[in-house]
Symmetry: C2
Subunit: 244 residues, 2 copies
């Protein structure tokens, strides 16, 4: 028996999110089917966490246990040969049998892409959030710093979250530019439900002048979801990396 | 009567190229339909040139004549409201009545994106050419310089080209990196049929060591299509800009 950890890229556009659901096409379900095709085994693929419908991943991590004789380094090409083109296994590594991609995750990085141009994108339509209005980038950058630290992030959590403690530590939060977009990167020891998208929405509120960067600590302190910005749509969000 | 010049971005994935064809979805055809919807007029949309099936554009230019009263600056939003999401009008400008987006084009820039990683892309699957083998980037960069100048580019032209003279001037040709890909930019006063894709394929041949950078002048001189590299697939190619 081996425990295999996969690194996975996917385009979430045409999936009902990560988690397996009856009669719905999900990332987990489709990869489990692919594993069955090449190993003959019914496995339970444990992801580092769920991603919502429409959310993308550049480096999702997930592990499964197998009795198959396929060499570990052959899994990416073997799985990619049977997976649809919008999911790609980027890497495979053998890990100890007690390793869990979910419970051993130490930090995750998400990015949110905002397409801030007057007219809508064509090529990036499913991969960025289109926001055509003027933004105060300097204030947005400043606001990012206030998210760094260990706080109760109840204000940045949609209802439906299963976790008890809403305390998370954000190691890094910054704004940069890539691929003609504004990119907001957030690295934390864990994310509450919709947390990355609500933080991005709150930083956008700073950008349009609805709130000030110095309001962020007050919003965190309030533990009141209504004080933070709205949750931006899923198609601008990417799970970039998971660290163990 | 006004003559309107549009700047157009499109995702070529689901189109049979630029040029209107009966019973096939083309960029030109779909935009002409959109213009009819907002002006009521049957126009002839003159593109700067055709792009092949699957080729993308960030800054295609095309003009049409109209009697409509719609203010020029309103055309992008008006057209985008009736166009499918994979085509976007980025700009509109009024030009003189004798202006032709095709005949007045002074230079065009194309880029070709090569995804040079061991495993295939998921998110970029329709937007880059996946090439998993080792490449000698320095030699590829060097080879670019040999394309700059005015030459008969017969070696870099697929049959089916309508033009008589195969002489074109390449103003610039260079390799850079963007969005996790190798990007080859080529700016010329005009492009022969498949010229950008064959130049990219020849630079790739340099990258794998099949030919040397110093072979490029000999290949140009030979005027023999069989001496150059193969034409890379359309989905890695972008019409970036047209200058008048």
């Amino acid at each position: 028996m081996r425990n295999i950890l996969l690194t996975i890229e996917y385009d979430g556009t045409n999936y009902f999110g990560w988690q397996k659901q009856p009669n719905k096409k999900t990332i987990q379900g489709v990869i489990e089917d692919a594993i069955k095709k090449i190993t003959g085994e019914d496995v339970n693929l444990v992801g580092s966490g769920r991603t919502d419908r429409g959310v993308h991943a550049l480096g999702q991590k997930a592990n499964f246990k197998t009795e198959s004789k396929i060499p570990t380094e052959k899994f990416p090409l073997a799985l990619n040969s049977v997976l649809p083109s919008d999911i790609s296994i980027k890497d495979a590594a053998e890990v100890s049998l007690d390793f869990s991609a979910r419970y051993n995750a130490k930090q995750k990085t998400y990015k949110y892409l905002i397409y801030n141009h007057k007219t809508r994108p064509a090529i990036l339509r499913n991969y960025v959030y289109y926001f055509p209005y003027d933004l105060d980038i300097a204030s947005m950058q400043k606001s990012c710093e206030y998210f760094i630290g260990e706080y109760d992030f109840s204000s940045f959590c949609s209802s439906g979250s299963e976790t008890n403690s809403k305390v998370r530590r954000i190691f890094d939060c910054y704004l940069t530019f890539e691929n003609d977009c504004i990119a907001i990167y957030i690295t934390a020891n864990g994310f509450l439900y919709n947390m990355a998208r609500i933080i991005a929405g709150t930083i956008l509120d700073v950008g349009v002048g609805r709130i000030k960067p110095t309001d962020i600590p007050l919003i965190i302190e309030s533990k009141d979801r209504t004080k933070a910005g709205k949750s931006l749509p899923p198609w601008g969000l990417y799970l970039v990396d998971v660290v163990y």
